[in-house]
Amino acid sequence: MPGSRRKPSGLHVTGAKHGNSVTFRIANCTTEIAKIAEGVNGFGVNHGLSKSVLNAVNLALDEVLNNTINYGYTDNKRHEIMVSLSLEPGELVAEIEDDGIAFDPLAASAPNLLGGLHERELGGIGVHFVRSLMDDIKYVRKGETNRLRLSKRLVTQENPDGHRRRVRG
């Protein structure tokens, strides 16, 4: 029931940087999502990441956060959502932690992609994008917390297709 729930106002995004990682804390308010996108772009510029990687991670975060904020809470209270980015060998990792109701995007059913302009349904497209664009997804429910780890392989000149490099020995 979008629009019927009172959302907290006057909220701030906070970020903490530790070398190859950064953590943002936002409130459960959809206007906060744009701040995460700016944070991802800033992190990407600082680390020389490609626009295609940043766009994919931003799109996935937009879908996950929008879903959590709109459907993840059964009260009107302020909740904090933590988003961290870290640069690991060959991949950009985004982790989302929230105290909303349990939701495993890996368990969601595939969307119905059939039908013309007037028949088409859109439910599930967002999760479908996340699963298609990310290279690895892990979900854990720990106590009252959802923890989602999204990984996107980095595309470099030595690794133009974004495949993991084989290590010998």
């Binding site: 959809t30 206007t31 999502i33 744009a34 996108a37 626009k51 295609s52 766009n55 994919a56 931003n58 799109l59 937009d62 879908e63 956060l65 929008n66 992609l113 059939l114 013309g116 302009l117 007037h118 088409r120 859109l122 497209i125 967002g126 479908h128 994008f129 298609s132 664009l133």
Partner: protein
């Protein structure tokens, strides 16, 4: 996201730049609805400078296309980047719209 518009006869070219995400999708929806209600229901959205379109953005395109068709017009798209094209394919939206490689020539006034 920034939105501009140009006219080529009775076609309105809607030029979108930036991210079409859950935050900005409503702005695009409002623009497309107001154009259709003003009688400009032949719409072409230029996506050349769009970074990505989230599911909220795809919902807006679908609703706007239905509205345009009901008003005897049509919603078409042009200049999809390879990344945006990939999203259209993932959402199976390529068959729902006319997609052009270049934009219609704008009228000179």
């Amino acid at each position: 996201m920034d939105i501009g518009e140009e006219y080529a006869a009775d076609v309105t070219i809607v030029d979108v730049k930036g991210r079409i995400d859950s935050t900005s999708a409503k702005t695009l929806a409002d623009k497309l609805t107001s154009l259709t209600e003003a009688g400009r229901s032949r719409l072409v959205i230029d996506l050349d400078q769009v970074d990505y379109i989230s599911s909220a953005g795809f919902r807006v395109l679908l609703v706007a296309a239905r509205l345009a068709e009901e008003a005897n017009g049509a919603l078409s798209l042009c200049r999809l980047s390879p990344e945006v094209q990939k999203l259209f394919e993932l959402a199976a939206f390529t068959d729902l719209f006319e997609i052009y490689p270049s934009r219609p020539k704008a009228s000179i006034s």
